[in-house]
């Protein structure tokens, strides 16, 4: 009875809030913006990984075949991808946000990039500072892209601000002239902000925001406490059938991307993966906690094959195996179901908690190196454990340990669910259902 009350309460109060957050326009734009630049981020990450692969044979071979300077290729790929993260994401968020308003996306993206560069310090020999175009400038980049696009959209509504073009001028030209006055206002405003801040604080807005907001927040997010909080929220959202990873995405990316970036650039510069600073990163969760998807459902699949008898569960297990290897688990979450299933609530939330603690401990005492690579989240476990640590088998060992713990923890719960399903008179329906699914 109490359980029902709790479920009801969550459905009524918690879900609508989570749903609202998940569909907030600006957060959605930030999330989609990050999704858009992911290919480049992964390529940059790959370049660093190749350059620093810890096999002497491989390193010697590359030097022998291509000469000492073979790493230049990877280094310059890094410059054009991860190193200009903030620049890329500014364009991408502005575009997505403008698109959601059905405003001109390309103009919005260009203006936002311009505004960001206006705010970015110039080096002594008149170059753009990579220091701030990368992950360190991320906060300023995200805020700039949102504000600039909002102003652009609002100004765009006023007919008076549009420059009248004679009839017959192609639409593309008219459009770009429509953007002229809003763009001028935005860029001059950005220039003014930049000048005032530099005059009053003696440093750029990037340096100010980084030292006052971003750095403290990053220190905070590298703690076990915040890792557990993230794991908990993600699981809770998924338990109610909401895309936790998606809803938490904007926060996750803005706070955790700079951490992995710093790990990675130090790794690229020759620091060992043990000595880079940050333990908690997005790859940390992907590789050690959410194996097979949120809730470590790969372990649930193992548990099903080990102990379960009912056909429904076995069918769902089979159906979920192939996607599960690539960390896709919707068939499992909705088919078993895990979603809104009181029996599964405890392990589903508890397991990622335990795994986070185990992984955090293993890394902080130095058994396992820290994460130094971003992989596509669909990279299968084992492979991901090896690559994410910059090529260390201890990462794989940690994954195997965590998978074993998770499987052992799922077993009693799935057995209980199995027994009650077998007793349940409704099980006939399930059998019918799965016959259709498996085509028998």
């Amino acid at each position: 009875m109490n359980q029902n009350k709790f479920m009801h309460f969550m459905e009524e109060k918690f879900m609508p809030i989570a749903g609202k957050i998940g569909s907030l326009r600006h957060l959605v734009a930030i999330r989609d913006g990050f999704v858009g630049i992911m290919p480049l981020i992964i390529i940059g990450s790959l370049a660093v990984l190749i350059n620093n692969f810890p096999w002497d044979g491989f390193q010697n071979f590359m030097v022998m075949v291509f000469g000492e300077s073979w790493k230049m290729v990877g280094d310059s790929v890094w410059n054009g991808s991860f190193a200009i993260l903030s620049l890329l994401v500014t364009a991408s968020i502005a575009y997505k946000l403008a698109e959601s308003y059905e405003a001109d996306g390309i103009s919005a993206a260009l203006i936002a990039v311009g505004a960001l560069v206006v705010l970015t310090p110039v080096t002594d020999d008149f170059g753009l500072s990579f220091t701030w175009l990368g992950a360190q400038g991320l906060f300023v980049a995200v805020v700039t892209s949102i504000i600039s696009t909002e102003v652009f959209r609002i100004l765009g509504k006023y007919e008076k601000l549009r420059i009248k073009m004679p009839e017959g001028v192609p639409e593309g030209v008219t459009k770009s002239f429509n953007a002229l006055l809003p763009a001028a206002l935005i860029l001059f405003a950005a220039g003014l902000v930049n000048t005032l801040i530099t005059l009053f604080f003696g440093q750029s807005i990037h340096e100010l925001v980084f030292s006052v907001i971003q750095e403290p927040l990053q220190g905070l997010s590298n703690t076990l406490g915040s890792a557990l909080l993230f794991a908990f929220l993600n699981q809770l959202l998924w338990f109610f059938g909401l895309h936790g990873t998606n809803i938490l995405g904007p926060i996750m990316e803005s706070i955790y991307l700079p951490l992995i970036e710093e790990n990675q650039s130090l790794f690229a510069a020759g620091t060992s993966a043990f000595d880079v600073p940050y333990i908690v990163t997005k790859p940390f969760f992907d590789a050690y906690v959410f194996m097979g998807g949120s809730g470590t459902t790969l372990a649930l699949i193992f548990a099903i094959f080990l102990v379960v008898k009912s056909r429904h569960y076995r069918t769902v297990g089979k159906l979920s195996s192939a996607p599960g290897i690539f960390n896709i688990n919707e068939p499992m979450l909705f088919g078993l179901p895990v979603v809104l299933n009181p029996v599964m609530l405890v392990p589903f939330i508890l397991i990622p908690f335990v795994l986070t603690i185990v992984a955090y401990s293993a890394i902080s005492v130095g058994f396992v190196p820290k994460t130094v690579a971003i992989l596509p989240w669909t990279t299968p476990p084992i492979l991901s454990g090896y690559l994410v640590t910059g090529g260390s088998w201890s990462g794989v060992v940690l994954q195997l340990i965590n998978l074993s713990i998770a499987t052992a923890m799922y077993i009693p719960f799935i057995m209980a669910a199995d027994r009650s399903l077998m007793k349940n008179t409704d099980s006939e329906d399930f059998i019918q259902e799965e016959r259709k699914v498996s085509g028998q």
Binding site: G22, S23, D32, I328, G335
Partner: protein
């Protein structure tokens, strides 16, 4: 008829799309079924007849409905169990019920 399925990354929904196409073929129904991200939906609004939303992003329903209403396209969230078991037959039926 044209059916759109909306989800987040399109990974798991594409499996369901495959099963739905099979189901449609078996029943002899001519249907074009595709998975879209929410953002892509706008470009296709005019051609669509039904929009079904994956249960994990059901919070998008209100916003999608807002746009789809002006085109008179029915919008619904896919049944949890049918989605989880990738039951193409059942979801196709859900789509058909919405249009009739």
């Amino acid at each position: 008829m044209k059916i759109a399925l909306v989800c987040s990354a399109g990974m798991s929904t594409s499996m369901l799309v495959k099963n739905m196409r099979q189901a449609a073929e078996q029943k002899g129904i001519e249907a074009e079924i595709d998975a879209y991200a929410e953002g892509e939906l706008n470009q296709h609004m005019e051609e669509l007849e039904v929009i079904l939303i994956g249960p994990q992003v059901r919070y998008l329903k209100q916003r999608i409905s807002g746009k789809a209403d002006s085109y008179n396209i029915p919008v619904d969230v896919i049944d949890n169990m049918a989605y989880g078991t990738m039951n193409g037959d059942k979801v196709l039926q859900q789509a058909l019920n919405l249009t009739s």
